[in-house]
Symmetry: C2
Subunit: 591 residues, 2 copies
């Protein structure tokens, strides 16, 4: 215990009568009837200290100087509390410590916010005083959980023969993928390292090197404009294996997540996790990372309504689009026309030009468009959507991608609003059979949907050049509660396939060799079939800890403008530093 | 086992009769009497596969196409070897696998070097083809050991309540310490992040934040010209605690190293480790990281020889210097005058102007300088150095630092040359009572011997401004077999002491606030006493694995010019990338 008898939160009735030494921070001081009560806090919790003139006038008079967040060393005797003063809400609420000696180790100014789980101070202030923010018990508990998650993962992978190997942070910049953070070289004028977006290439090279089972809890970097759930540096659980099939890799990860859920949350989750093709996920949930904790699935009514008198529906189908709907059970009376106008505005963000609706009443479907549907059509709509009286039906008619995005987002929004989501549930799901490539209209070229090293489905190999977008990838994403935990794939391990892939992505032979020649060459020296996965640790912890802000899972996170408000990074550097790096600033006036 | 029955190196006699599937690389193929023998290798070792026409002509004929490093999938039956063909040197040497089916998974060109522990290919070739180098069993075993070391450390620290917390890689550049690697910011024109030289400040802020026990296996960066045992990025076991004394921290680390030695090497090491002050280490071994696996200590003869007729000795002492010697036991006849000339040259590198010597024969001390010493002086020399007939005594007379450096280096060199070092031994040692500050003549200022956050000895605090070099630090280095494994200290946790420290280091008040204002401010909000340590993981693995090259402990290391020969990093980037970062190149012509 190193200089203390107990942590504050761990003094129980068993210690009654013991002389103890405690160390910690002052949560609260109360003066009452000539006594002073101090709640002393450390990372385990609180314990009440009593200063009594009958025990030590010296300690009592020193205690008068004590303020909130002072650091104390208290020696005293554990005593039971009288019946009336027992606090059942506190782990240590049946005892208190009668102080005999007090040392003020360090003082504290008044903190800019109270150290408590609930706080309404702005996040900027919390980030500037992160060292105080971290004292809030809920923050400590999150980082304790993060530790437990990585411990569970490391123990599991160690047991399966995976080696923890570190890959470089100073690597080579490559043109594919997101924007790299660059590091100028002092020794090689005009040259730069890049911070890795993932250890992808190194882990594949380790497979070429016969390591067979690798993992790393790896820092990765992306210089992108940040959204709420992105950070310039983030951490992934990075895994690669040789000679294993897609099913075997998925099975391994399921067992790993089982252990995480058991060790960290005390929950049993059953495997195999459900699997769903990308196609099916988009069709049923309008999302490639569906939250399967609730229903309200998207139902395709194109066939049912394509000949109806409602021109919007009929023409959408005629133009190759779709008409789909969700059934918001029992919500007919909850949502006024004005509410539905709000939902219409919501889906317009996703490109939907409108949101048609029907309400189911005892005597049939009502609403401005009901007149367009005959009895048979109405019956078909009710049957397909399993409509009962009181349900609200919401339709989007548009091209396929808009229908999926709009109704997928609407489903999620309504699921949350209506409390349909069981927050205590953890629903894992695999999404498989991804497209290998996406065509980007703007750039007028194909991009890898995952990354350029993903193995095409063997049976689609022949179509790689003739019909690229039809090629499926041997790829799999793990989804938890509507969030993408991460994705993996089998990798290309043959030079000719990899060259073909680069060619489809628009690389000339020379460009491919210049950027990835070492990898192409490596494939010629006996490369085993291999594959792996990378899971986002920050997001995993966020979901397991029930937090909604990724920054709460990172000890020293950056803001949306990639600043550290605590240390004030980034910052200026000296001209001498720039000279050594063979650089000068080139700042455009308008910035 | 995921698609295979056994790893190659783990098929034993117990498997005889079993149908197995094995996967791996071809180590060797031999054709013998119509049969083909293949040694199949994976990361666990080798197993012999036999292709026999009586079993499968198809497999046999395919086996003819197989070359070294091909990747195979072999199905067959495990059989015992005949008495004459048992290979006791191989774990699987009592069995072989009779092949029934063979699949060539991938082919291989002839590798640029043979995949074997012993190799005489240049390190540059090994680094360019690192993926082949990593196939050499000795390399795999080193990384397996590295994994075991970190696993042991993580398990130990987890058991002691330490939380693994990640600190940022994109941090703020600070002027103290080594040269930073910089990362230009795209969002903040003209500003830069720095890669951390250590997580020092963040771990201290976590202590302010009440985390109490933190560790991280942390990547650190220094843009320095590299020596053989330095890398631009390296890994340290980074630990920080609150409320613990120096002795408690040292005790904790001893227990951690005990577990590492037990888990990884199967060795029991006893604690407490020996402790030695910096002063004593320099005096007895001429080194602040003495190799205590052998004796041959430096003996101070200044008092004995100060009045002798040998002017070199007498004047060295008269000028405030020292005369010290080492006794090279039984080496009188091994070392000719020419050999000793060589040693003289060796010590001259350390500034010694000469190396005096005496040889002990049955009838007394002999050698060119023996005539300067009277009987009494000779007897005193012999007594102090415990001289027996046949010993060689080597003297250096100079100022204290030169004597220590020259004789310290000479002692190490001779210890190795004469085989005095028991290579199976692991000698841990703490060096304590370091000076807090060093005065740099060239810069004409004080530098922190450890870092600016090290706590001065409490009793020396008053001397911090009046006599800085006399102030001792509450710091401790852990030494193993003559290498510094790492160092730690108690930290300053009071604003006024930290401000005084910055002032002694030449910071103005404004500079201190500009660079470290957030830390100074943090100290005012109830900062606990804290301290910690950082141990070099790469070096620890190097010593435990019995390697001599730090690069052999890093999967993808950099060369002395900080290049990655495999991926060819660093490299050029595009003008558009530079523009986005508000930079232009500024390369001097002469470079």
């Amino acid at each position: 215990m190193f200089g203390r008898s107990y942590f504050c939160g761990e003094v129980t009735e068993e210690a009654i009568g013991e002389k103890v030494t405690l160390k910690g921070w002052v949560q609260k001081r109360r003066d009452l009837g000539g006594l002073i009560f101090i709640d002393l806090r450390d990372r385990t919790g609180l314990v009440q200290i009593v200063f009594n003139p009958d025990v030590s006038t010296e300690a009592l008079s020193l205690a008068e100087k004590v303020r909130t967040e002072y650091v104390l060393d208290v020696k005293g005797t554990v005593i039971g509390r009288s019946e009336g003063s027992i606090n059942e809400n506190l782990k240590t609420g049946r005892i208190e410590v009668q102080a005999e000696e007090l040392t003020i180790i360090n003082e504290a100014k008044t903190t800019p916010f109270v150290i408590a789980d609930k706080t309404d101070v702005s996040e900027d202030v919390r980030l500037k005083y992160r060292y105080l923010d971290l004292r809030r018990p809920v923050m400590f508990e999150t980082f304790k959980m993060r530790h437990q998650v990585t411990k569970a993962i490391r123990d599991f992978l160690d047991g399966e023969g995976f080696l923890d190997v570190e890959t470089p942070i100073l690597t080579k910049s490559t043109p594919e993928g997101a924007r790299d953070y660059l590091v100028p070289s002092r020794v090689h004028p005009g040259e730069f390292y890049a911070l890795p977006q993932s250890p992808q290439i190194f882990k594949q090279l380790m497979m070429v090197g016969g390591f067979e089972r690798y993992y790393q809890i790896a820092r990765c970097f992306r210089d992108e404009d940040l959204r709420a759930d992105r950070q310039p540096e983030f951490t992934q659980i990075d895994i690669e294996t040789s000679f294993m099939s897609q099913e075997e890799i998925m099975g391994l990860i399921e067992k790993m997540m089982q252990k995480v859920m058991k060790d960290v949350k005390g929950m049993d989750v059953s495997e195999p996790f459900p699997r769903m093709s990308y196609e099916e996920a988009m069709s049923r949930f309008g999302s490639d990372k569906p939250d399967t904790r609730f229903g309200m699935e998207l139902v395709d009514l194109s066939e049912t309504v394509k000949d109806s008198g409602f021109k919007v529906f009929a023409s959408a189908v005629a133009n190759g689009g779709q008409v789909k709907a969700i059934n918001v059970k029992g919500a007919a009376t909850n949502y006024s026309r004005k509410d539905i106008d709000g939902l219409t505005e919501f889906v317009s963000v996703y490109g939907a030009k409108g949101l048609a609706w029907l309400k189911s009443e005892e005597d049939g479907l009502k609403g401005p468009i009901s007149k367009f549907f005959g009895e048979e059509e109405q019956a078909a709509i009710q049957a397909k959507l399993e409509v009962s009286a009181g349900d609200l039906i919401l339709f989007v008619a548009d091209k396929k991608s808009v229908v999926a995005n709009a109704l997928g987002a609407l489903r999620l929004k309504l699921g949350k609003e209506l409390g349909l989501i069981d927050q205590s549930k953890f629903s894992f799901l695999w999404i498989t059979d991804w497209p290998l490539l996406e065509f980007d209209e703007e750039a007028d070229r194909y991009f890898a949907a995952h990354h350029p090293f993903t193995m095409p489905a063997r049976e689609d190999l022949a179509k790689l050049e003739s019909n690229p977008t039809s090629v499926k990838a041997q790829a799999y994403d793990l989804v938890l509660n509507g969030y993408e935990l991460g994705g993996g794939s089998l990798r290309i391990f043959e030079r000719d396939v990899q060259e073909k892939m680069f060619s489809v992505l628009g690389f000339t032979k020379e460009q491919a060799v210049e950027q990835f020649g070492f990898l192409l060459e490596a494939f010629e020296y006996g490369t085993p079939p291999h594959g792996g996965i990378a899971l986002g640790l920050d997001r995993m912890v966020m979901l397991l800890a029930g937090r909604t802000n990724l920054r709460d899972t990172i000890a020293f996170p950056k803001t949306a403008s990639a600043s550290d408000l605590l240390t004030d990074a980034p910052g200026k550097v000296s001209g001498a530093q720039l000279d050594e790096l063979h650089l000068s600033l080139n700042i455009k006036k308008d910035q």
